[in-house]
């Protein structure tokens, strides 16, 4: 780990901001090509049905419509989208790139209209006559898991996979327990909702047989490979180009059916094809997440020591298993233990398909759900034990002496062998959080009715896995003007990647940050690369940048030495200048013509684990069920802070997103499988007036030992513990009514109902 840094650790203002603040960002919707056609998707209007006929004749006759594509236009078998993390049972559940024979969710693509303008393409949607025989839909867990309505005749079951997280002797642990506590909890279906909807622009060059796809995000290299495989092209015949991206949060940038269909049309018709998703279709088409339930039990000894955890998790993954559709399920199983020392674990996480939009990841996938479940159980356990809930948590938090601490391994494995927490003392953030929050002072409000509102405090702790493997790459080249071009395999999704990687590059090269030119995210820059997912871009991308910088300085030294006819060991490099003892020197720009470049790489399968604690003080209006967040404090330890400004922004933004999860956002379906949420007026994300009081503190007490920066992934942690902290505080506020929230979100209606139910129960005793 370098110790002298100019940029790492300082609140460097972002290099991206200048263009964004002047309206000069370039997003995929801003791109225009001569002669382009526009695509609009005909989507299933029902949740489950058999396609009898698709009559496109009226649409084809529509002035300005160029073509309509359906499954019939795809030669041979309809390709299915491959998995990023395969396992032995999910094969039959992969999503076809267009519906054929059957539709399995509301919004599934059944045809594509291509027209000379987006307006015409959208108008013509109404002219397509779909004859679909509707089938009963499988929407809720009971129907889905009973296999009453089966989505796939082969293998004839709605259970796609059951993951097992296993560690220690769980039955023995429960047999030895003094106290056990069991609960059923659920989190609701949500989506990441980036403010920019998805979009693609595909161009086919018939002369060179080359496909270029603009609008890449998250995983340009994986998607290129997928596209090439599905199209029967060599990988070198496909490029993914990243332009500015209006938010990702885990959902944008996965390989979706539209990716294939837009590119297929470009190749078929030799036209640039442009598609910009509209908001309503976004809600039906982009990955959903978080629809999970559990029935889980904890075992304690009477002093509060956690002995074991067992039970079942159930995750509704929607109609198909998407490329990373299993990630939240396996994560929920592995991360439900959170930051707590639990020697014996057996959890079964059931992934079942349903007639809803296929699921994928959303910030903190599986971890948010698991954290909510266990944090509720910890509070219930404390009550059962007659122990203070703070003392119970502190006793069970993993300490520095136990590092590396093993999490429960999960089977079937998806190749992630390592399950060890890397470093930290989880009590450090806990103690700091209580102090920053002022728990001792605020405790007097807990459970009190003040000015007509019930006040409550809640606490929850978390770990956040980051630095997803396997590798990342970077290349550096000295340019003619003495600046250094840095090409990074990581991609930017609005998180400030350009700035953070520039800081790391400038420090590693020991030059001014103004001399770094950062290029990222496009497959044209590097042969190989990975991207931005699982909180990896800073750690993995940054470590690759350091490797490239070390090699570049070596190469520069050799070049400068040959010019001065000296041995490289006789030179020192300061600020981009190689200096000899005799006073002669060679700056970067003098060797630029010698094409000095270096390739860097960082290989690592071991995740980093940031960790933290959050505490909340809220007030519940018993008349309306509205909850007001009076104070929310989160303290995390990220190993090494690269840029406090952007880190703080990530944590704050994640916490507020978490409030959306805890209080308002929900994708509701009716019994037939129709999505009832059609606009941002009914999918309620937080607005500026909702949550003004968030206090974030980041520490760097325990650098990660597994990368040269000492950094840990940190973009997701803020969201993980929100649900648990909030639900615990609502329970604490409404203790007079015996309220114990078990289902999310805690919107006014639900909170009000909980109070009414509590009152009724009290009256009847």
């Amino acid at each position: 780990m370098r110790t002298v840094n100019t940029y790492i650790g300082s609140p460097v203002e972002r290099v991206e901001d200048y263009r964004f603040l002047r309206g000069e960002g370039q997003y995929v919707g801003d791109l225009v090509r001569e002669g382009q056609w526009h695509a609009a998707f005909v989507r299933s209007p029902v949740g489950h049905g058999v396609i009898r006929n698709i009559d496109c004749s009226a649409a084809l006759a529509w002035p300005g419509v160029k073509a309509v594509l359906t499954a019939a236009d795809i030669e041979g078998e309809i390709p299915k989208i491959p998995f990023r993390r395969p396992n032995p049972t999910i094969g039959p559940y992969a999503q076809p790139i267009i519906a054929s024979g059957k539709v399995r969710y509301f919004g599934e693509p059944v045809a594509v209209i291509l027209a000379e303008s987006a307006e015409i393409a959208e108008d013509a949607l109404a002219a397509i006559v779909l004859d679909i025989e509707q089938l009963p839909a499988a929407i809720d867990r009971q129907t889905c898991m009973s296999d009453k309505v089966v989505l796939f005749d082969h293998p004839g079951s709605n259970i796609a996979t059951v993951f097992h997280a296993n560690k220690g002797e769980v039955d023995a642990a429960f047999a030895a327990a003094d106290v056990t506590v069991r609960g059923q909890f659920s989190t609701q279906r949500q989506t990441a909702l980036p403010m920019e909807t998805r979009g693609l622009l595909a161009e086919w060059d018939p002369k060179s047989n080359h496909l270029t796809v603009y609008g890449a995000a998250k995983l340009p290299f994986f998607n290129r490979k997928t596209m090439a495989d599905l199209m029967g092209l060599p990988e070198t015949a496909v490029d993914y180009i990243e332009v500015d991206v209006g938010g990702g949060f885990g959902a944008r940038g996965e390989f979706y059916p539209e990716d294939f269909l837009v590119a297929f049309a470009a190749r078929k018709f030799h036209k640039p094809i442009r598609w910009i998703e509209d908001r309503r279709e976004h809600l039906t088409a982009i990955g959903h997440s978080r629809e999970a339930e559990c029935d889980v039990e904890l075992a304690f000894s009477k002093d509060g020591t956690l002995l074991g955890m067992r039970g079942d998790l159930f995750v509704n993954v929607g109609a198909y298993v998407r490329p990373n559709g299993m990630t939240p399920v396996r994560n929920a199983a592995q991360f439900m233990s959170g930051p707590y020392r639990i020697p014996a674990i057996h959890l079964q996480a059931h992934a079942y398909v349903s007639n809803k939009t296929p699921a994928g990841t959303y910030r903190g996938p599986g971890r948010y759900e698991g954290s909510f479940f266990i944090e509720r159980l910890m509070d219930l356990g404390a009550a059962r034990l007659g122990m203070d809930r703070l003392a119970l948590r502190r006793r069970n938090l993993v300490t520095d002496a136990e590092m590396p601490y093993p999490l429960a391994p999960v089977l079937p494995s998806d190749g992630r062998a390592e399950t060890n927490c890397d470093s930290g003392d989880y009590r450090v953030c806990f103690d700091k959080c209580l102090e920053e929050f002022g728990w001792a002072q605020k405790a007097e409000f807990d459970g009190k009715l003040i000015d007509g509102r019930y006040h409550g405090l809640g606490i929850a702790c978390f770990i956040e896995g980051g630095a997803s493997g396997p590798s990342e790459t970077a290349r550096m080249e000295i340019e003619a003007d003495g600046s250094v071009a840095v090409y990074a395999g990581s991609s930017a999704i609005g998180q400030g990647l350009e700035t953070v990687l520039s800081q790391i590059a400038a420090d590693a090269l020991e030059i001014s940050i103004d001399r770094i030119k950062l290029y990222h995210g496009s497959t044209t820059y590097l042969k190989e690369g990975w991207g931005s997912y699982g909180s990896r871009a800073t750690v993995m991308g940054g470590s690759a940048v350091i490797d490239a910088a070390t090699k570049l300085l070596e190469a520069f030294k050799v070049a400068a030495a040959s010019r001065l006819k000296l041995d490289p060991s006789e030179l020192t490099i300061v600020d981009g200048v190689a200096r000899a003892k005799d006073g002669r020197s060679v700056p970067f720009d003098e060797v630029a013509s010698m094409e000095i470049k270096a390739d860097g790489r960082f290989d690592n399968w071991k995740p980093t684990y940031s960790y933290g604690t959050s505490a909340v003080h809220l007030a519940v209006d018993p008349g309306t069920g509205h909850v007001d967040v009076i104070d929310y404090t989160i303290v995390d330890d990220v190993g090494r802070i690269i840029n406090p400004l952007t880190l703080h922004g990530q944590v704050t933004g994640a916490v507020v997103q978490g409030f959306g999860s805890a209080f308002s956002e929900e994708l509701v379906y009716d019994a037939d499988g129709t999505l009832l949420v059609g606009s941002l007026a009914d999918y309620l994300i937080p607005v500026a007036t909702d949550y003004p009081h968030v206090h974030c503190v980041s520490m760097e007490s325990f650098p990660s030992p597994i990368n040269p920066l000492g950094a840990k992934g940190a973009g997701e942690g803020g969201i993980i513990s929100v649900g648990g902290a909030v639900a615990n505080a609502v329970a604490s506020a409404l203790r007079d009514f015996g309220v114990q929230p078990s289902r999310m979100p805690l919107n006014p209606q639900r909170v009000w109902e909980l109070i009414q139910d509590g009152k009724k129960a009290l009256a009847s005793t």
């Binding site: 203002e13 972002r14 991206e16 901001d17 200048y18 263009r19 964004f20 603040l21 002047r22 309206g23 000069e24 960002g25 370039q26 997003y27 919707g29 801003d30 225009v32 307006e119 909702l193 980036p194 403010m195 920019e196 909807t197 500015d244 991206v245 209006g246 938010g247 949060f249 509209d278 908001r279 999704i493 609005g494 998180q495 400030g496 400004l645 952007t646 703080h648 922004g649 704050t652 933004g653 994640a654 916490v655 507020v656 997103q657 606009s679 941002l680 007026a681 994300i685 937080p686 607005v687 500026a688 007036t689 949550y691 003004p692 968030v694």
Partner: protein, 161 residues
């Protein structure tokens, strides 16, 4: 249909189809792509521009309705290479991440602080509640607005003097 308006101090004449929104007209015909479209339902505020001094959702307005209007878009906020105090405050306080909501947010705040340079924090939050941002959690946006407010107050004072 011929429509004329002044945008960012420049007179333009366009020929939008009758049903074209002002947002699409600005983006496609005037080639000012800084105005973003996040929903086309009038909910997200990304498309906010200033029409005759008022912040307006350009996805809810037809281009034809802008005939004769004076419009400011994000591209017109700072006329030269320098950033305005509002833009600088956003940079300093990390008031933006992905930048997609940012043009709309800046237009809303510029209109508000020009009209009400002494707007309270509460008032600013209230007005800003019509602009959705998924990245920042709004807190740094409010900090940026509060910091920039002083510059609008200075301007108002010097205009009076």
């Amino acid at each position: 249909m011929s429509v004329q308006f002044v945008v960012n101090g420049r007179k333009v004449e366009v020929d939008p189809p009758a049903r074209m929104t002002l947002a699409d007209c600005l983006r496609q015909q005037v080639k000012l792509t800084g105005t973003h479209v996040g929903c086309e339902h009038g909910v997200c505020g990304a498309c906010t521009v200033i029409v005759d001094g008022e912040a307006m959702r350009s996805c809810l307005m037809l281009a034809a309705q802008a005939d004769g209007a004076t419009i400011m878009t994000i591209e017109g906020l700072s006329s030269d290479a320098e950033l305005t105090p509002l833009q600088l405050a956003f940079k300093k306080n990390h008031g933006l991440q992905c930048g997609f909501c940012t043009p709309g947010v800046l237009m809303t705040l510029h209109a508000l602080l020009t009209q009400e340079p002494y707007a309270s924090e509460e008032r600013i939050r209230d007005v800003l509640s019509g602009n959705l941002c998924r990245c920042t959690g709004y807190i740094p946006i409010i900090e940026s607005a509060l910091e920039a407010r002083a510059a609008y107050q200075d301007q108002a004072r010097s205009a009076q003097a």
